[in-house]
């Protein structure tokens, strides 16, 4: 049976752990609000962009002159997986869920005899995938210095991906991120960005026939690379909100567990103290009786 001093120390240590997790939860809550706001602010752009692209892709997509980014390279032998995760841990299953999805995809593609290349964004995902598929890494983007995610971050990643595509390094690119549903639910998602697919996006239903300046093909060629950046940007923002949401609920759980532990330890502490007192009394009484 642990003595009283040990128990007391234990209780103190759990209490300070609870303070830390509580503080982290509150920080995450504040950051979550900001992340959600930026995700919200980017939505009108993404939605309109995709609507126009869907319309353009539908009218030009079938022809042979369509840009490679839309049509694909004609094969799907080499896949690039862009795995976007957080730079920090302590956010529940957030990082490992994305990594798990990416690993499963890599495994499936390898089983089909495809070549897989992996580009990681965020340190945690890199660490999680390194053991199984470390030899497939072709690059890494470090966002740990970034205080506030901007479109330029997404543009940099897109530039990297596009230059690899132009160099013929891969045929199909897929991004992995976590879609933010609410604080307790984030869904790891895989989204193919090259060749771009707009099939599940509602086109512009205004029915208007547009004039295109310069030409449909030129606009499409100009916008497709921007589409890659847009997809990556919205993935990053969803990820940002998901990370904070996951951290918030993980830290909330940790705080609650610490509270329960403190209650249990306190009861144990009080019982042992009572036992010590009772023991002393018995000793005194039996000593007095013996006289």
């Amino acid at each position: 049976m642990p003595n009283l001093k040990d128990l007391k120390n234990r209780i103190e240590s759990v209490k300070s752990t609870r303070k830390i997790t509580k503080a982290m939860q509150m920080v995450a809550a504040a950051k979550l609000r900001r992340a959600q706001e930026s995700a919200e602010a980017s939505r009108p752009y993404t939605a309109r962009f995709n609507a126009v692209m869907a319309g353009l892709a539908a009218s030009v997509g079938g022809s042979d002159s369509a840009p490679k980014l839309l049509r694909g390279t004609g094969s799907d032998d080499v896949h690039l997986l862009v795995v976007m995760t957080a730079e920090r841990g302590l956010c529940g299953g957030f990082n490992s869920n994305i990594a798990k999805l990416a690993r499963a995809k890599a495994y499936e593609l390898k089983a089909k005899g495809k070549t897989v290349k992996i580009l990681t964004v965020g340190k945690k995902g890199r660490d999680a995938i390194k053991r199984d598929y470390g030899d497939l890494f072709v690059g890494h983007v470090d966002l740990s210095e970034v205080k506030r995610l901007g479109y330029s971050n997404a543009q940099d990643i897109a530039k990297d991906v596009l230059s690899r595509f132009d160099a013929g390094e891969f045929d199909v690119a897929t991004i992995f991120y976590s879609k933010f549903v609410n604080v307790v639910s984030q869904i790891p998602t895989a989204q193919q960005i090259i060749p771009a697919s707009f099939e599940d996006i509602e086109g512009d239903d205004s029915g208007a026939v547009f004039d295109y300046e310069p030409s449909e093909e030129a606009i499409l060629a100009d916008l497709l690379p921007k589409g890659v950046a847009t997809a990556i940007f919205s993935g990053l923002l969803e990820n940002g909100a998901s990370e904070q949401g996951a951290r918030m609920s993980a830290m909330d759980n940790a705080t609650r567990n610490a509270g329960e532990m403190i209650d249990k330890l306190t009861i144990q502490f009080n019982r042992s103290r009572q036992a010590v007192i009772t023991n002393e009394l018995i000793e005194i009484i039996s000593g007095a009786e013996a006289l």
């Binding site: 930026s38 009108p44 752009y45 309109r48 126009v52 026939v209 310069p214 950046a229």
Partner: protein
């Protein structure tokens, strides 16, 4: 005939403007154009430049780069990769644009397609003129 149309200016990071406008001058890829209510539906890509919005409440100007404008008779959406209200534009923003223009001009010089070189040179000149226009 309506004399205003819904005008939206959005960038990936935020929505900058959503108001009723009477006329909007757009720096289109093939040249500036002014869209007024009941303009024929048009989609055009943007070149870096100034977007001028005329509204009943007053006019405003934005510096936009990259993206496109979608004109529907009764509404106009401009999706720009970067959009900054002119009042907030600093010399640094402009220098960045001039630098970009210069880089693409240098890159174009290497090629043999004269129109691309001319376009790049014009863009560079435009960007430098923009600085004078905004008296920065």
């Amino acid at each position: 005939m309506a004399n205003t149309m819904q005008f939206d200016l959005v960038s990936p990071e935020r929505s900058l403007a959503s108001l009723s406008a009477t006329a909007v001058q757009i720096p289109g890829a093939d040249g500036d154009m002014t869209a007024m209510p009941d303009h024929a539906p048009t989609i055009t890509t943007l070149r870096p430049g100034l977007l001028k919005v005329e509204a009943p409440e007053g006019s405003s100007e934005y510096l936009v780069t990259g993206g496109f404008a979608q004109i529907n008779g009764d509404s106009l959406s401009v999706l720009a990769e970067k959009a900054i209200p002119v009042a907030e534009v600093t010399r640094a923003h402009l220098d960045e644009l001039i630098e970009d223009a210069r880089a693409s001009h240098e890159a174009a010089k290497g090629g043999d397609d004269q129109t691309i070189v001319d376009d790049a040179a014009k863009l560079l000149a435009d960007m430098e003129a923009l600085g004078t226009h905004m008296s920065l």
